[in-house]
Structures are given as structure tokens and as C-alpha cells.
Assembly symmetry: C2
Homo-oligomer: 391 residues x 2
């Protein structure tokens, strides 16, 4: 057993839906000394992280902190705390992640009203309105802001209005949006939003930033049953992340350092500049992919800049293309999930991965590989199309 090999993973450029590339300053933060989780030096970092997350979520919500798990843990924490047995939930399902939230809510005891749209289409506010009318006392409406399986950019405000009109809270999955496109929790009246660290924030995976409105906290305090989850129970965790520092579990110290440094980088760049960078590189890569004849699956007008999901060319082995990108070029892109398996590529330019050099590398490599497999492409057209966007 002592001969387990030395750790030596390849140096990839990460252009899938996450993790994204890590900034060297985030790497450096992870070798800061580990202190105890109740150490005053760690308490200071916790306070700063909460502040920085509030700025990124654009919220004044006091209860804003990272859940000690990955993005899906954020989803589970949101749902486990809001839902009691028998509560009604309206959940938009137009991809893997809405479906996952519906499954999670049912496990926690919710009666779920699924509002479906075809993959690649947004959830229509009118359909949410119809579903809400069928409920008696809906507890929450949940939608996914950026569907990682399809590249759909979901509008939020109209659905938020409908939810509140019916007395429901709005839960927003911002796993693939936070740090890439505007997430305006207070303006949009979102009650709970959760995200991850390894996409728009460009830290390694391991934490799930989350924020709760006062209405959500009041609803949690008014629960009649204990939350099914001990690990994610906000009524205890809020005392640990609050100034009381009541021991609940041991926070992942080093990941918190990484998140802190990632957030500092985000805020140093500034949100408008960061969103513009994502818009620009996203537009460039999309123009390049179009020039290669690769068609997006998301409906026009609702495409995420940070995640292009395109149909794979007919007649080629799409997995072989990804393998070649990975092993010959050290470039990672992702395949499709669920019904999109084998049908699409998911190409992300999230956080630190949203840089012009990566756009150029990916378009060049992809052109070379698919050309070598017999796909008819006009050589150089992809990069030229991207250049036009930057011009």
C-alpha cells in the first residue's frame, strides 16, 4: 500500500461546465496554515467571506455563507430547510438540475408540481402561473437560473412576482450563474439562492455559497417539524456562522481560504467588468462554434454566455473528439447529460476559464480534430469569427 504513486495530475485547461481554471492566488491561499475552526483568525475569515458573498449575490441578507458541501449540498440545504412533510412546491424542470431539485424536494416530503419545458427552452412564467393556481398553499417555487445541461439562461423576475403573489418563496439555483452573469438576489426578491465554488468563482469544488432572506428564515423558525437533515439544519448552522460561533460541525478550513481568495479576485475585478468579460468571451466562442457548423441547443435570446451547449456533428464519435481534446491538447470540454448524452458538447468559459487565449485554443483544437475526422470545415473560419467579436 505504501507504493501509491506520487500525485501528478495533468495541467488541463478546464472548458467544461466546471470546475473552471484556478487562479494562482487561490492556489496559494490553500497553503495558508490551517488553524482551528473556532480560532479568532478563522472567525475573521468567516466574517469576510460572508461580506464578500453578499456583494456577489447582491444582497443584504445577513444569513449568507458557504454550506460545507458541493453545489448539490446547497440545493439540499435550501430544500431541506424550507420543506416540511406535505408542503407544496412548484419546480421548473427543463434539464437535469430542475429534475434533481424535484427529486430532492419529494424526498424531503414535498408534494411537487413539476412545470416542464423541453430541454433547451426556458420555463415559461405562464406555466408557473398555471401550476400555482392548482396549489392550495405553495411553500416555494424553484427554478434554475443557468441550466448546466442545456445552456439556458432563465429569466427570473416575472416568476418571482408570481411566486410571491401566491405567498410562495422563490428558490433560485445559481450554481452555474454566480460570478458569470448578474445574480441580483434582493432586486429580484429571491428567498433562497445556492451556488458552488468551482464555476464562476474559480475555486476548487467543495463549498456551496447560499443566502436566505428574512422571510425564508422566518419560515424556517416557524417549522413544526425538525428538518430531516441534521447536517444541513440552518437553525443550528446559523449559530455557527453567526457571531455566536456555536459548534455544529467543523468548517472546511482550507476550502474556505480558497473561496475567500476567489471572492477577493471577483470583487477586485468588479462585477460589471467580470460580467462583460464573460459576455465577450462567450460571444466569441459561440461565433467560432457557429462557424464550425455547431448549432446551440438553447433557444435564441436565452443563451448563457458562459456555457455553450452545441449539437455534435453528425457521423462522428463525439467522445473520441473530447478524448483527443483532453489527451492531445489538455483541453477539457464535457459531453451531454441524460437525453443529451452523445448528442451535445458543453463548452464553458466560466470564471478564470473565460480568457481569450482559451477561446483561441479551443476553437483551433476543435477545428483540427473534427477536420481530421472528415467533418467539412472552412479552415480558419472559427477563429476569424471569434476575432470579429473582439474587434
Amino acid at each position: 500500500m505504501a507504493n501509491a504513486p506520487e500525485l501528478n495530475p495533468a495541467q488541463r485547461t478546464l472548458l467544461g461546465p466546471g470546475p473552471s481554471n484556478i487562479h494562482p492566488r487561490v492556489m496559494r491561499a490553500m497553503i495558508a496554515p490551517v488553524v482551528g475552526h473556532l480560532d479568532p483568525d478563522f472567525a475573521a475569515v468567516m466574517e469576510e467571506v460572508k461580506q464578500l458573498l453578499r456583494a456577489l449575490f447582491q444582497t443584504a441578507n445577513d444569513l449568507t455563507f458557504p454550506v460545507s458541501g458541493t453545489g448539490s449540498a446547497g440545493m439540499e440545504a435550501a430544500i431541506a430547510n424550507l420543506i416540511e412533510e406535505g408542503d407544496e412546491a412548484v419546480i421548473g424542470v427543463n434539464g437535469v438540475f430542475g429534475g434533481r431539485a424535484a427529486d430532492c424536494a419529494e424526498r424531503m416530503g414535498a408534494r411537487v408540481h413539476r412545470v416542464e419545458s423541453p430541454w433547451g427552452r426556458i420555463i415559461e412564467p405562464a406555466d408557473i402561473a398555471t401550476a400555482l393556481k392548482k396549489t392550495k398553499r405553495p411553500k416555494m417555487v424553484l427554478i434554475v437560473h443557468a441550466e448546466t445541461s442545456t445552456g439556458i439562461w432563465q429569466p427570473v423576475e416575472e416568476i418571482s412576482r408570481l411566486a410571491h403573489e401566491h405567498g410562495a418563496m422563490l428558490v433560485l439555483d445559481t450554481v452555474t450563474s454566480l460570478g458569470c452573469i448578474p445574480v441580483e438576489i434582493d432586486k429580484w426578491r429571491v428567498d433562497v439562492a445556492y451556488s458552488c465554488t468551482q464555476k464562476g468563482i474559480s475555486a476548487p469544488p467543495g463549498l456551496a455559497p447560499i443566502t436566505f432572506s428574512q422571510a425564508a428564515r422566518d419560515a424556517i423558525r416557524a417549522r413544526k417539524q425538525k428538518c430531516h437533515s441534521w447536517y444541513f439544519d440552518i437553525s443550528m448552522i446559523e449559530q455557527y456562522w453567526g457571531r455566536e460561533r456555536v459548534y455544529h460541525h467543523t468548517a472546511p478550513i482550507t476550502m474556505t481560504y480558497a473561496l475567500y481568495e476567489g471572492l477577493r479576485l471577483v470583487l477586485e475585478e468588479g462585477l460589471p467588468a467580470r460580467f462583460e468579460r464573460h459576455r465577450l468571451n462567450g460571444a466569441a466562442i459561440s461565433a467560432g462554434l457557429a462557424a464550425l457548423g455547431l448549432e446551440p441547443v438553447a433557444q435564441e435570446g436565452h443563451r448563457l454566455p458562459q456555457l455553450a451547449v452545441v449539437k455534435t456533428p453528425a457521423g462522428i464519435d463525439e467522445a473520441a473528439v473530447r478524448r483527443e481534446l483532453l489527451l492531445k491538447y489538455n483541453l477539457e470540454i464535457a459531453g451531454g447529460l441524460g437525453p443529451f448524452r452523445g448528442q451535445v458538447w458543453r463548452i464553458g468559459t466560466l470564471g478564470e476559464s473565460s480568457r481569450r487565449q482559451h477561446v483561441a485554443a479551443l476553437l483551433g483544437a476543435l477545428e483540427s480534430i473534427i477536420a481530421s475526422m472528415g467533418v467539412e470545415v472552412r479552415r480558419g473560419a472559427a477563429l476569424a469569427a471569434a476575432d470579429k467579436v473582439y474587434a
Copy 2:
């Protein structure tokens, strides 16, 4: 917001119940490049981590991997997967962590039979037997191997025999034992055991190693209801950590690197040498604490070597002592939990923190501080007592 200060935590020696000191090789592992979680290079690390964990847990269990959360997430994963609504569980409660497990099991729908012992005493097998006789079809018995709140080292084998005799599975909390004292999953017929990364393994907190016997897996497959937790559902996670690599969530890549390197260090040292090191340094620090007049709370014959829990001297401000240790000496020890708050100190020598220089530093610093506060101590006696152990 852009003026959040540069990260600069103090360099502490961690002598509480965890986190423990981190080896420089583990630090270095954390700056290895982050690759995608489905990358072949990460898949290779996953396979190695499983192998190394099996060696540490002393098990052949195929399903042995780290849960993507801290030690308490391991507890929740164990309980959420075994318990269905109405199942009976017998849980030993002689400190915070048994109580936490009982709470968790009730939230997941169990009818819990608490078997209590006073804090500082072991759970008596005879009491488990009595409780089991009151059950109809007990699903599981859960005990804590190393009670972090009291320093009790719980014997396992007799309780395991009783559990299986009644058709129940045995769940063992090894959060504070794994890597410090022998944990023999197969020999003891343990069905599920969970632990953490930041104690005996000396990596940062963030993952929860766990192992499931075939019987536990069969019970999970035979469930009639879905597990309340989506995030911890083993029926999905086993396909992600299995060779199928079916996407469930994104594993915490960097923490997995840290765990990998921590495990390599554990296995390079070898389990017998590691346990002997913990025994020796634990005996030395306990001898020193006794020479300072500090009495252990755990019953004789059942004291953990890696965690001394001692009564604080009468008439002094114990929190002031800890503060002085931390701020003047950069030494961390912990206070008491629950009813032991203000009553005890918890002094750990776990993993990399179990070194003679730290024993010397702590005994010296503690002697100086309590002497300065008017506690009558024979100067030099603590270190001399420790030296005798090493002689």
C-alpha cells in the same frame, strides 16, 4: 469590498480534538492542478484513495470512499441510507456525538432507543443487550468509537456480537479514532463506519471517509422508500465512486488530493508504528497533565491516547488559559462541550500533532500559565513525568 485583507492566518500548533497539524506534503498536494472530476487522472486518484482507505479501515469492503462533506456528513450519510421511516435504532449516548447521532436518526424517521451512560463512562454491552431485547426488529446499533467530548475509548467487539445476534447492523463512529488507534472493520464485523480527514489523517477538514459492508449495501438496495437525502444517497453515489463514474455531484477535487497524500503518509509510516506513536505521545502528555494535577474525566482503562480530556483546575478562568496558550504560544487546545463547558480541557495529539516536541511545548506552556494564575504546581514536574514515559 475590494479591500478585504490578504489572507494571513497564524501558524498554530493544533492540540485540540481536530483539526490536527498538516504535513507539508499534504499542503503541497493541494496545489496540484485541479482537473475535471471525470478526468482519467482524477479517476486514478479516486481508485487509489479507495484502496488506501480500505487499508486504513482494515476492510475488504468494496464501497469505501470519502463522502463530500465533513465528518458529520459521514454520520448523516450512514444513517440516512440505513434508516427508513419507522426503523428501530439502538444508539449509545455518553457524550455529544452519540446524542447527535440519535438526533440525526430520529430526523430520518427512526424510532431511537437511547442507551445512556454518564459522560466519561463507556457504553456497557449489557445495557445494549437490554435495549435490544426491547426492540422488535432493530435495524442498527450505533456507537461512538472515540467520544470526542469525553476522551472515552469504547470497546466494540462485544456490542457488535450483540447487534448481529439481534439481526441489527453495527454502525461505528470513527471520527476521532481512524488513524490514531486500531479500527478493524472486518474483524469487528462493523457494517458502516465513518470518519473525517482532519484528525488522525491530518488533512484539512472537508471529507468524510466511509465504508459499507455487503450486508449494509444489501439493506440499502432492499429499501422500500427513497432515502430522505438526495446528496448522500449511496445508491447513486456508489455509481459515481464506482468504476461506472456516473455523474452525481462534483467531488471536492483538491480535498481528495489532500486526503490522498495524507493517506499515503499514514500507510508509509505503517499502522502499527502509527498507533504506537499515538500511544507513546498520549501516555507522555497524560503523565505530564497528571503531574500538573489535572485529572482525566474518562474512566480508567478506557482512555484514548490521542485525546486527553481533563478537569480544569478549580478557581481559575479556564478560557483565559486557552486564550493565553493560543495567543502567546500559538498552541490550540479546546474547552468542553455541552455539560462539560468550562469544566474540562480537551488536549489532542492526533496524527501529525502527535509529536514529542508538541508534548513538550504544551506541558511547558500550560505549566507556566497556570502557575502564573496561582495554581500550585511543582515546576518541571510535568515534563519530567513525560520524560519517564519516553525513557
